[in-house]
């Protein structure tokens, strides 16, 4: 009896230590997280930049995207090209999170721009076909950074349809260290694992489906998340421009998506052909290099000249 009581006591001590360790990890992440995570710093910058932009004069652009935007959208070239056509001054905020899609873009736009009434004049959404489909995977740990407590019911009912995802969202919302575990992993591996970034890219490429090309049969997806984002922006008078991003293999846009863009009163700007890109302008199958980004961004600006109002109040 005595040994079983002492066994229970020591197990309680073990559990108490585990709890303390998790608590220490949580406190450390809340204090030091932004210091070692570029993504967290970028997230924290959004409201600051939104405030600055809201106070500025001229046409205000927000660009939301993923790694395609990071690689393929050159804000300086875009601004310069617009300025040459008389759209000036231009304030532009580009926010890109790797592997993000329309669900996360909706919450970024709602949380940082709509809820704070710091709306841009134009919202540009560079996309490839998979990132705007509803079944595009959401990075749950990152999504919680774009939500507050009022958003939780909406997220649980509208964004997730699986018990596991819903629970993981609540878990991540409650714990910053759990939500941002990817950043810890990345920080550790940057130091310890040789060629970590190229290795992770190879794993990511091997585990994801390639973009469908022109010759493949395109399966029409559902785009309710994108539609929700476009309707939200349009209801606040924001011009929404959907921009298909070039890829080394041409791909077609399905009619369902075009229909949604038109029905929400958004604009569709396909500058892929005008940019005149060749395979030399891609660093891999889907991401442009610096030269490609410049060519494409200038072509996009030229494409938009006629569609954008030149005077903004």
């Amino acid at each position: 009896m005595r040994s079983s009581i002492s066994s229970s006591k020591s197990e309680i001590k073990v559990l108490a230590v585990l709890l303390c360790v998790l608590l220490a990890a949580e406190v450390s992440m809340r204090i030091f997280g932004p210091a070692f995570s570029l993504e967290l710093r970028r997230t924290h910058e959004i409201p600051v930049n939104a405030r600055t932009m809201a106070a500025a004069e001229g046409m205000r652009f927000v660009v939301l995207g993923n790694s395609l935007t990071n690689a393929g959208f050159d804000a300086a070239a875009f601004t310069k090209e617009l300025a040459q056509s008389g759209v000036t001054p231009v304030h532009i905020q580009v926010r890109h999170f790797p592997g993000s899609g329309s669900c996360e873009w909706f919450h970024i736009f709602k949380h940082f721009f709509v809820d704070t009434a710091r709306l841009p004049d134009v919202l540009i959404l560079p996309f490839n076909i998979t990132s705007v489909q509803d079944d595009f995977p959401v990075t749950i740990g990152r999504l919680v950074n774009f939500c507050d407590v009022n958003d939780i019911p909406g997220v649980l009912f509208n964004d997730f349809h699986d018990f596991g995802d819903r629970t993981e969202f609540l878990h991540a919302y409650a714990s910053t260290s759990f939500a941002n575990r990817d950043k810890v992993r990345q920080a550790v591996f940057d130091i310890l694992i040789p060629h970590y970034h190229s290795g992770e890219t190879a794993i990511h490429t091997a585990s994801t489906t390639p973009i469908p090309d022109e010759t493949s049969s395109l399966v029409a997806g559902s785009y309710q998340q994108l539609e929700r984002l476009m309707l939200l922006a349009r209801s606040h008078g924001v011009i929404v421009i959907a921009v298909p991003m070039p890829a080394s293999q041409p791909y077609s846009i399905d009619a369902e998506l075009i229909g949604i863009i038109q029905s929400t009163g958004s604009l569709y700007a396909d500058a892929r052909m005008e940019a005149g890109l060749t395979l030399d302008e891609f660093r891999d199958g889907i991401h442009m290099n610096r030269r490609g980004a410049g060519l494409f961004s200038r072509a996009l600006a030229r494409h938009l000249q006629a569609k954008l109002p030149h005077d903004v109040e």
Binding site: S8, F163, I193
Partner: protein, 473 residues
């Protein structure tokens, strides 16, 4: 409902709380309902199969146990075998063998199009079929008494912690635990906690991270792979499958302990084995002992001539390979293990029971472990590859192009990061000679080990979680 999912732990919390309030009879009924909910979660239709297996084996065992007629007992055993193995064969092997037969006939200019069933393989069918059959065969052999308690027998067949991926329990071990009232000692809670933590660590940290490395290498174009990458791909898979399967078994044992059940040990640090024979005494013990007791020994075991022993070993391992699935790669895997078992017996055994050479010095043991691990890795190459051609080409790559690539360095870093601490831990367990040694050390050291485990699970669990490999078997 996976052990590493939120829904399972919610499910288990409900079961655990209810379990504490109920008496033995109601505990069993509740566990049976819970087990059917657990299994039906995949597909409710699968429950029909488990019910058929339960009813047929329950009735035939009673018939066998109450009959004095040898002929009648044999007929009843045959019925149980035909129904159980028939269902397994139908779902698991029918399409494969019919497809192979069609290809065979086509070589002789005969073209036929027999109907294929294209049915999703019911989860865990191989596990519960073997477990159920062991009961009926043991009753036939007079090794275990038959039971008339249908619902308790149904729980023995479907007990949820070990239903879909084992350990494949024997009726002599598990059935009495179902039938008798159970007591839960406080050490069961601490041992259960240890086993669950260890299992989750192995699955979520080691297996799932190794899966990403192995999947990437095995999905590459063969011409672009270097031998170095192939080697690391096989190492990654070796630890993926070990941690995936032994992790599942550990969680199953831990969860069962919290309910007062003691499930058999299924793994004992298999990669420290020094011979093929020892490997099978450490790897998937519940299957290897099942095959030994119900196939190898009835075939004659090592009682006859050397040639007969080799034949029995080869056949047993071939069928062990086929048990994993209807694919030539699994058959090749089983055949390879049969071959190395025979080779080991040929080289190291003077007669069927006398061993000629034993490893004494530390370097001999280390060398034996090194060689055995790499032999097992060769078998994993066949197991993991999609085709035998792929396996052979990857194997040849090891000797033709051994470039050290960036991805190879990355993979070796990942393997070292995740696997080395586990190897050190298992070495310590091996030295202690006690699988539960961690539960018996000072709570401070145990806290440190658990803290490492939980922090690794918290921060290094990959975004993509993989299903348990052995669910497909």
């Amino acid at each position: 409902m996976l052990f590493n999912s939120y829904i399972f732990w919610l499910f288990f919390a409900i079961v655990f709380v209810l379990y504490q309030w109920l008496n033995h009879g109601w505990q069993n009924r509740m566990l049976l309902v819970a087990s059917y909910v657990f299994y039906g979660w995949w597909d409710v239709r699968f429950l029909i199969l488990i019910l058929i297996a339960t009813v047929v084996n329950y009735l035939t065992a009673i018939g066998i146990g109450t009959s004095d007629s040898i002929r009648r007992r044999k007929i009843l055993l045959t019925i149980a075998l035909v129904v159980s193995l028939g269902m397994l064969g139908m779902y698991k092997y029918y399409d494969f063998f019919v497809g192979e037969f069609v290809i065979f006939l086509e070589q002789y200019g005969v073209s036929i199009t027999p109907p294929l069933i294209h049915i999703l393989l019911p989860v865990g069918i191989s596990f519960y079929t073997f477990q159920t059959l062991s009961y009926t065969i043991d009753v036939y052999r007079g090794k275990t008494p038959y039971t008339t308690h249908f619902w308790d027998f149904a729980l023995y067949v479907s007990f949820f912690p070990q239903l879909v991926a084992g350990p494949i329990e024997r009726s002599s071990h598990l059935l009495p635990q179902v039938l008798q009232p159970r007591t839960i000692r406080s050490s069961d809670y601490s041992e259960g906690l240890y086993l669950v933590m260890l299992g989750l660590f192995k699955k979520m940290v080691v297996a799932d991270n190794m899966a990403s490395v192995a999947n990437t290498i095995f999905s590459q174009d063969l011409d672009s792979l270097s031998g170095f990458e192939v080697l690391l791909g096989v190492y990654a898979f070796a630890f993926q499958i070990y941690c995936d399967f032994s992790g599942y078994s550990a969680i199953a044992r831990g969860v069962a302990k919290w309910l007062g059940f003691d499930l058999m040990v299924n793994f004992r640090m298999p990669y420290f084995a020094q011979s093929p024979r020892e490997f099978w005494q450490r790897w998937h013990i519940s299957l290897s002992t099942w095959l030994r007791d119900y196939l190898y020994i009835p075939l004659g075991g090592s009682r006859g001539s050397k040639i007969n022993t080799y034949r029995n070993l080869g056949l047993t391992m071939l069928l062990g390979g086929l048990w994993h699935g209807a694919n030539w790669t699994f058959i090749a895997w089983g055949a390879f293990h049969g071959f190395i078992l025979c080779l080991h017996r040929f080289l190291f055994f003077k007669s069927n029971s006398t061993k000629v050479l034993t490893m004494h010095s530390w370097w001999q043991k280390l060398l034996a472990i090194f060689i055995m691990f790499h032999l097992v890795c060769i078998s994993w190459l066949f197991f993991r590859a999609d085709t035998i051609t792929q396996a052979v080409r990857m194997f040849m790559r090891l000797f033709t192009d051994f470039r050290i690539t960036d991805f190879g360095l990355f993979a070796s870093g990942m393997i070292a990061f995740y696997v080395l601490p586990l190897i050190l831990f298992e070495y310590w367990i091996e030295r202690k000679g006690n699988l539960l040694a961690l539960t018996e050390i000072h709570w401070g050291f145990r806290s440190a080990a658990y803290s490492y485990g939980i922090l690794m699970m918290w921060f290094f669990m990959p975004r993509i979680q993989h299903a348990f490999i052995y669910f497909q078997f």
